[in-house]
C-alpha cells in the first residue's frame, strides 16, 4: 500500500512543472542598494566639490559626470521591476516557460544593479576618506607642487633601484638554478650536495631580506673581507638580494624540474644522453617555460625589496623620497616612488602574458 501511495505522490510531483521564481523581492533589494549607493556618492561628491574651492570648469564637469555615473545602477534595478511585472502578467496567461525566462532575466538585472552599486559605494567611501578633515588626507599624500618639485630627484635615485634589481635578477636566475640542480643530484654521492642546498634554502628563505642587506652591507666591510670590501655599495646590495632571492627561485626551479613527466627522462636517456645532458637539453628548457609566471612573482618581490637598500647606506629612490618628504612635511614624494614601482611592474606582467601566449601558439598547444 505504501508503495502505491508514494507512486501517486511522485506522479503528482511530476505533473507539476518547475515553478517560476518570484522576482519582486530581489528587484526591491537591487533598487534599495542602488539608491543607497547614489545617495552616498552624491554626498561624497558634494564634499569633494566644496573642498576643491574654486575649481576649474573641467573639474566641475568631471564631478557632475561622476554624479551622473553614480546613478547608473538604477537602470538595471528599474528593468528588474519591469521584468517582475511582465512575469506576473505571463503567469496569469498561464505561459509558465515564458514567465521563467523573464524571471531569469529580471534576476540577472537585479544582480547587475547590486554589483555596480557596490562598486559605487566603495568609490564613494574612498572619496569620503580623501575629503575628511577638509581634505587633509589628500593634501598629505598628493600635492601637485610637491609632485613636480620632487619628481626629478626621486626618479634619478630610482635608477639605483632598477640597477640593483636587474643585477640581482640575472644572478638569481643563475644561482637559483645551481641550487635547484644541487638539490636534485641523484645517488649516495650526491647526498652532501643535496644537504648543502637544503640548508641554504632553509636558511636564506627564513631570514628577512632587510637583515641580510644590513649584515652584508656593514658586516663584510667591517670584517675587511678581501675584494668585497672594495666593492661599491650598490654591488653589496645586489649580492645581498641575490642571496635571499636565490633561495626562493631555487624552489621554483625545483618545482618546475620535478613536474616534468618521467617519460621525458626515459626518452632522453634511451637516446644515450647523459644525466647532465638530459637536464640541460630536455628537462630544464621545458621546466623554465612552465615556471615563468611564478618566476615573475619572485622578480617583482625582488624589485620591491630594492626599496630596503637604504639600510646599507645606498641612496635609492625611497631614501631620496623620505628626504624630500621630511623637508616638505608632505608624503607626496613617497607616493611618487610607489607609482614608479607600479609603472615598472605592469609592463613586465603584460610581457610575460604575451610570452606565454606566443609560446603556446608556436608549439601548437
Amino acid at each position: 500500500m505504501s508503495l502505491t501511495s508514494t507512486e501517486v505522490g511522485s506522479q503528482d510531483a511530476r505533473s507539476q512543472a518547475t515553478p517560476s521564481q518570484p522576482v519582486f523581492p530581489v528587484a526591491g533589494l537591487g533598487l534599495a542598494v542602488a539608491v543607497l549607493a547614489a545617495v552616498a556618492a552624491l554626498l561624497a561628491l558634494t564634499a569633494l566639490h566644496r573642498m576643491l574651492a574654486d575649481p576649474s570648469i573641467a573639474v566641475s564637469v568631471a564631478v557632475v559626470l561622476a554624479a551622473v555615473a553614480s546613478l547608473l545602477p538604477l537602470v538595471p534595478a528599474l528593468r528588474a521591476f519591469g521584468d517582475a511585472r511582465r512575469r506576473a502578467e505571463r503567469l496569469e496567461h498561464g505561459s509558465l516557460a515564458e514567465a521563467r525566462h523573464i524571471a531569469a532575466n529580471g534576476r540577472e538585472h537585479a544582480h547587475t544593479a547590486m554589483g555596480y552599486a557596490a562598486a559605487v559605494l566603495i568609490v564613494a567611501g574612498l572619496l569620503w576618506f580623501v575629503t575628511t578633515n577638509d581634505g587633509a588626507v589628500s593634501k598629505t599624500f598628493l600635492r601637485w607642487e610637491f609632485l613636480k618639485s620632487s619628481f626629478s630627484n626621486v626618479a634619478k635615485a630610482f635608477v639605483v633601484n632598477v640597477e640593483v634589481a636587474l643585477g640581482a635578477q640575472v644572478l638569481v636566475l643563475v644561482f637559483g638554478l645551481v641550487l635547484a640542480v644541487m638539490r636534485l643530484v641523484p645517488g649516495r654521492a650526491g647526498r652532501p650536495m643535496r644537504w648543502m642546498a637544503i640548508v641554504y634554502v632553509d636558511t636564506f628563505r627564513a631570514i628577512p631580506s632587510i637583515i641580510v642587506l644590513y649584515l652584508v652591507g656593514f658586516g663584510l666591510k667591517l670584517a675587511q673581507v678581501p675584494v668585497i670590501k672594495d666593492l661599491p655599495p650598490i654591488w653589496l646590495a645586489i649580492i645581498a638580494l641575490t642571496l635571499t632571492y636565490s633561495s626562493y627561485v631555487a624552489e621554483v626551479y625545483r618545482a618546475g624540474i620535478e613536474s616534468m613527466h618521467p617519460s621525458q627522462w626515459a626518452a632522453a636517456r634511451s637516446l644515450g644522453l647523459s644525466y647532465g645532458m638530459t637536464l640541460r637539453t630536455v628537462i630544464v628548457p621545458q621546466a623554465v617555460r612552465r615556471i615563468i609566471p611564478p618566476l615573475l612573482n619572485d622578480f617583482i618581490g625582488l624589485q620591491k625589496d630594492t626599496a630596503l637598500i637604504g639600510v646599507m647606506g645606498v641612496t635609492d629612490a625611497f631614501t631620496q623620497a623620505r628626504l624630500s618628504a621630511s623637508n616638505a612635511f608632505n608624503l607626496t614624494p613617497v607616493i611618487v616612488v610607489a607609482l614608479l614601482f607600479v609603472i615598472i611592474t605592469i609592463p613586465q606582467a603584460r610581457f610575460v602574458d604575451r610570452l606565454i601566449l606566443k609560446e603556446q601558439r608556436r608549439t601548437g598547444r
Binding site: Q264, A267, S270, L271, L273, T363
Partner: protein, 247 residues
C-alpha cells in the same frame, strides 16, 4: 652466439617480482614479438634491455658484451639499442627535426649538417619530411609515433625495442606506423616488439614469446604459437584476444 642474449633475468619492484627468470636469445635480423596480458612483464623486459631499469639477477649481453650490472657505459649501450615508447615521448619544446638530430649531434658526434641530412632522409622515408619544422603537439598521434621511430633510428641502433607503439593510436592511424615497422623488418633490422597487434605479430615475427606473470611461458614460430599453442594459458589468452576481435 646470439646477438642479444638475455639470461635468467630477474627484476623486482620492491617485493613484487616483475620478471622471474627470463631467458631469450635474439639473432641478428630477428624480429621477436612479446605478447601477453598487461602486467605480464613485456614492457619491463624491454626497459631492462635498455638499462632504463636495473635487474637484480641474471645477465644481458649485446653483441657479446655484457651490458647489465655496474660499471657499464649505459650511454654507449643505448646508442646501439634504440627504443620507441607507447606514448611517443617526443620533446615538445623542439621541432621534429631537432628531436631527431639531438642524439646524433650531442652523443654520436655528427656535425649538425650531417645529422640534418640524415634526419631529413629518414623523415622522408616515413612521409614526415614536410613536418620537419613542426612541433610535436601540432601533429597527430600517428605522425608523432613515426617521428619517434625516426628519432630512435637516427642513432643508427643495432637493435630497436618497440614498446606497444600502436597502443595509444586511433585505429585508423595504426596501419601507417605498422607499415614502417614492416619495412624495417624487411630491411633486416633486429627488433623486439611488445605488442597487442596479434595479426601483425603473426606476419612479421620470426619468433613469438608469450609472457605470463614475469615468465616466458611459451615460445615458438608465429605459426606454432597462434595455431597450435601448447600451454593452456596461451590458448586462453589468444581466445580472449580473438573474442575481442583483435586477431
Amino acid at each position: 652466439m646470439a646477438f642479444l642474449e638475455i639470461d635468467d633475468v630477474h627484476k623486482r619492484y620492491g617485493d613484487i617480482p616483475v620478471l622471474r627468470g627470463v631467458s631469450l636469445a635474439v639473432a641478428k635480423h630477428d624480429v621477436v614479438c612479446l605478447i601477453g596480458a598487461s602486467g605480464s612483464g613485456k614492457s619491463t623486459l624491454l626497459r631492462c634491455i635498455n638499462a632504463l631499469e636495473t635487474i637484480q639477477q641474471g645477465q644481458i649481453s649485446v653483441d657479446g658484451d655484457v651490458v647489465s650490472g655496474l660499471g657499464v657505459d649505459v650511454n654507449r649501450l643505448r646508442r646501439n639499442v634504440g627504443m620507441v615508447f607507447q606514448s611517443y615521448n617526443l620533446f615538445p619544446h623542439m621541432t621534429v627535426l631537432r628531436n631527431v638530430i639531438l642524439a646524433p649531434v650531442k652523443v654520436g658526434g655528427l656535425s649538425k649538417a650531417e645529422a640534418c641530412e640524415r634526419a631529413l632522409d629518414l623523415l622522408d622515408r616515413v612521409g614526415m619530411r614536410d613536418k620537419a619544422d613542426s612541433y610535436p603537439d601540432a601533429l597527430s598521434g600517428g605522425q608523432q609515433q613515426r617521428v619517434a621511430i625516426v628519432r630512435a633510428l637516427a642513432s643508427d641502433p643495432q637493435v630497436l625495442l618497440l614498446d606497444e607503439i600502436t597502443a595509444a593510436l586511433d585505429p585508423e592511424l595504426v596501419g601507417d606506423v605498422l607499415e614502417i615497422v614492416r619495412e624495417l623488418a624487411t630491411d633486416g633490422l633486429t627488433m623486439l616488439l611488445a605488442t597487442h597487434e596479434m595479426s601483425f605479430a603473426r606476419e612479421v615475427a620470426s619468433q613469438v614469446c608469450f609472457l605470463d606473470q614475469g615468465e616466458i611461458l611459451e615460445r615458438g614460430t608465429p605459426e606454432q604459437i597462434f595455431e597450435d599453442p601448447h600451454e593452456d594459458r596461451t590458448r586462453q589468452f589468444l581466445s580472449r584476444v580473438l573474442a575481442a576481435g583483435r586477431l
